[in-house]
Amino acid sequence: MGRKLLLDKAHIENIRLYDVYRREGGYRSVEKALKSMSPDQVTEEVKKSGLRGRGGAGFPTGMKWSFLAKPEGVPRYLVVNADESEPGTFKDRYLMEFIPHLLIEGMITSSYALGSSRSYIYIRGEYAWIVDILEQAIAEAKNNGWLGKNILGSGFDCEIYVHPGAGAYICGEETALLESLEGKRGNPRIKPPFPAVKGLWDCPTVVNNVETIAAVVPIVNEGGEEYAKIGIGKSTGTKLISSCGNIKKPGVYEIDMTISVEEFIYSDEYCGGIPKGKRLKACIPGGSSVPILPANLLLKTAKGETRMMTYESLADGGFATGSMMGSGGFIVLDETQCVVRHTYTLARFYRHESCGQCSPCREGTGWMEKILLNIENGKGKMTDVDLLWDIQRKIEGNTICPLGDAAAWPVAAAIRHFRDEFEWHILNPEECLRRNYGLANYGSVPAKV
């Protein structure tokens, strides 16, 4: 039903290989860009397309590219952020694993637009086998003249290097990624200066998500305006959603951002509903760090409109009654899940992954984890809920990088929407170890729509 631009050819046999990929129309965008367009024209197309960063923040990519400083005699770099470590997000993995040449093609075109003759893929260390897949794709592209010196006689040189990380979530933050790529400890830098001015080795750098760079291929092939026609409002194009949790068909889906959340969860084309006839309790629509939403707020916004799978609609209502598109890690919780346990799991993750550089995040994440563990184990006190709220409030916005916010938001949202469940845990210390709270008053949603 929905249009597919990135994964439409992902299931063709051996699409991983260059010959098959080329036969299916691969590398057309490189030909088009290098032969008939100037770098600025490519950037202009990306601007027209309204493509927004797919890594989480949703910043317009064309605008990011146009911010890149272009001083004379200084190299510029394109770095692709493949350090996909957000719990619940695995879309980039799918893309790189099945159709690696799409990323390479997008990188060559983007490097041309940005004037980067050395581009990097920073991939998370756990994706070790994907490193091999990418290396092979790069070698094939190079053998066929798509990389190296003077590509297609245009005078443009480009090399792509793959750099595996060492297993740190924080290295997905763009400045920490650059530090790590330079061979240092992956601590986020203090901004400003932004990477567009001083990035990799103090040179202007653009850091983009894998999916963003892959989306440049259809944009150049079909034109930015054509791409912008897909989707609603400022959410243009297609988005990969990796869905998991209590759904019948977990996996990576490409949606064209015109469908509703309800359709995405219950339609057989996508998640296929919740197994065993259970009811929807809550959902994290964009990767573990975005606020959790209870079922009633997930399917309808506070204003009563249908919530759509778009950047704007998911964020409708702000953090009070909305959430975020984030990186597209769609985690569904059914009525048997415990929100307290879930929040504790996330808090434990963020505590473990905090880089320890700035104090609110370093100390606050550990503190929140301990309190949540107490509540989960029936040892909590009523004041703990307010204390948690106060801690998250003091972390959020006061840290160097967004990891502090990412650690604070899930806790804040869980308390905001599921406060009674926390209180039930505290008031029923024995019972909370034996059974889950269930739905209580969020269960106004039928099992099957």
Binding site: R185, I190, Q357, S359, E363, W367, K394
Partner: protein
């Protein structure tokens, strides 16, 4: 360089100052001085790249600049944000800042052992000052604190990681002052620690400066450990002709004995600069020259920082409104101390069991007892002092 062509006007807490371009908000506030200066635990102006980590210096930027007067949405670290022309900054006038700063101090203290009574840094500890100014009187943290084993790194320095607040200053010292850094941050998050690679010794000639930059008692001078409390020592400025360093130091003496040698510090607790160069000292001056005859004494050191050493009271500490002699009805406070003259214990006509005190009263002073006035009338000081122990504290002026 000729005269700077243009100075930036910046307003901090309604005080306007003109500073050269490229000055950070924190340094501009230090030029004004006083209460508007945000505290800084990790920033050290003489160490390149330091700052931005501890988040105690967060300020609110109410207007970015004259050209772009929009406020900044988040609080910014004043040590790493440069001023713009026409910038309006709120520090102590902003409730958001005070709230965030109190939060940061609480975070810094939850895993700090608070072992000030046995810590050599006590009295000149930045965290102690910060705690007095912004901390809560009690903690909301109910879990066991993070601890590490003490570690001797080299013959002169002891690392007490439990006290560390991970300001990274000592790593910058090693990077920028010595030729080879052999210590650094291991691990991450709240289990991160400063250590050397497989307990290697830190032996560089300028490594002792790490002790001076450490804002807490994590790095201490092994030659001074448990020798004395800093407030009992007498600091004097001294110098010697040193071939490796500037030789300008502060000696901390007790009598004729030199207990320790440190760099001279400016009002912000940082090393003083001479002709634009920071006056770091070498390990020979610091650890080996412990005789008065090694040094030329210049005079007593003035401690400008508000600290236990400097003033013995704190900005936010409440002073009692009335003096002790007012409370005492004009009598000299000294009589309070002479237990033989004033105590009821020595008066045989009084029943000991009726004495106001913790055993019989609701409070330590034995308040709320009906007969207390009868007994104490004209004999000892009125126990119904509303200010509590403050006014009877002999340390209070």
């Amino acid at each position: 360089m000729a005269e700077a062509p243009k100075l930036f006007k910046v307003t901090i807490d309604n005080i306007t100052i003109e500073v050269p371009p490229g000055t950070s908000i924190l340094n501009a506030a230090r030029m004004i001085g006083g209460d508007v200066t945000p505290p800084a635990m990790c920033y050290y102006s003489k160490l390149q790249g330091s700052g931005g980590k501890c988040r105690t210096c967060l300020v609110e930027v109410a207007a970015g600049s004259t050209a772009d007067p929009r406020p900044m949405p988040k609080l910014v670290a004043s040590c790493r944000t440069n001023v713009m022309d026409g910038m309006v900054v709120k520090n102590i006038t902003s409730e958001r800042v005070t709230d965030a700063r109190n939060g940061v101090v609480e975070f810094l203290l939850i895993n700090h052992p608070l072992d000030c009574p046995i810590c050599d840094q006590a009295g000149e500890c930045h965290l102690q000052d910060l705690g007095y100014d912004h901390g809560k009187e009690s903690t909301r943290y109910e879990f066991s604190r993070r601890t590490f084993d003490r570690e001797d790194i080299g013959p002169y320095i002891q690392l007490h990681m439990t006290r560390c607040i991970l300001c990274y200053r000592c790593t910058y010292v090693a990077d920028q002052l010595t030729d080879n850094r052999v210590h650094g941050i291991l691990d991450r998050g709240d289990h991160a620690e400063i250590s050397t690679y497989i307990s290697k010794a830190i032996e560089n000639d300028f490594s002792g400066n790490m002790i001076d930059v450490c804002p807490v008692g994590a790095l201490t001078d092994r030659t001074f450990r448990f020798k004395n409390r800093v407030w009992f020592t007498k600091p004097v400025d001294a110098h010697r002709d040193c071939p490796t360093c500037c030789g300008k130091v502060t000696l901390w003496n007790r009598g004729d004995e030199v207990l320790r040698v440190t760099v001279r510090k400016d009002p912000w607790g940082e090393v003083q600069s001479y002709d634009g160069k920071p006056g770091w000292i070498c390990n020979t001056c610091r650890f080996d020259k412990k005789k008065l005859s090694d040094w030329v004494i210049e005079g007593p050191t003035k401690i400008a920082r508000h600290s236990v050493m400097g003033a013995n009271h704190y900005i936010n500490a409440k002073r009692p409104l009335e003096t002790i002699s007012e409370v005492m009805g004009g009598r000299h406070p000294r009589v309070l101390m002479d237990i033989h003259k004033v105590s009821d214990v020595n008066q045989p006509e009084v029943m000991l069991s009726e004495l106001p005190g913790p055993a019989t009263g609701d409070t330590f002073n034995g308040q709320k007892l009906e007969y207390s006035t009868n007994i104490t009338d004209g004999k000892i000081g009125s126990p119904s002092n509303e200010e509590g122990t403050d006014s009877t504290n002999p340390n209070t002026p």
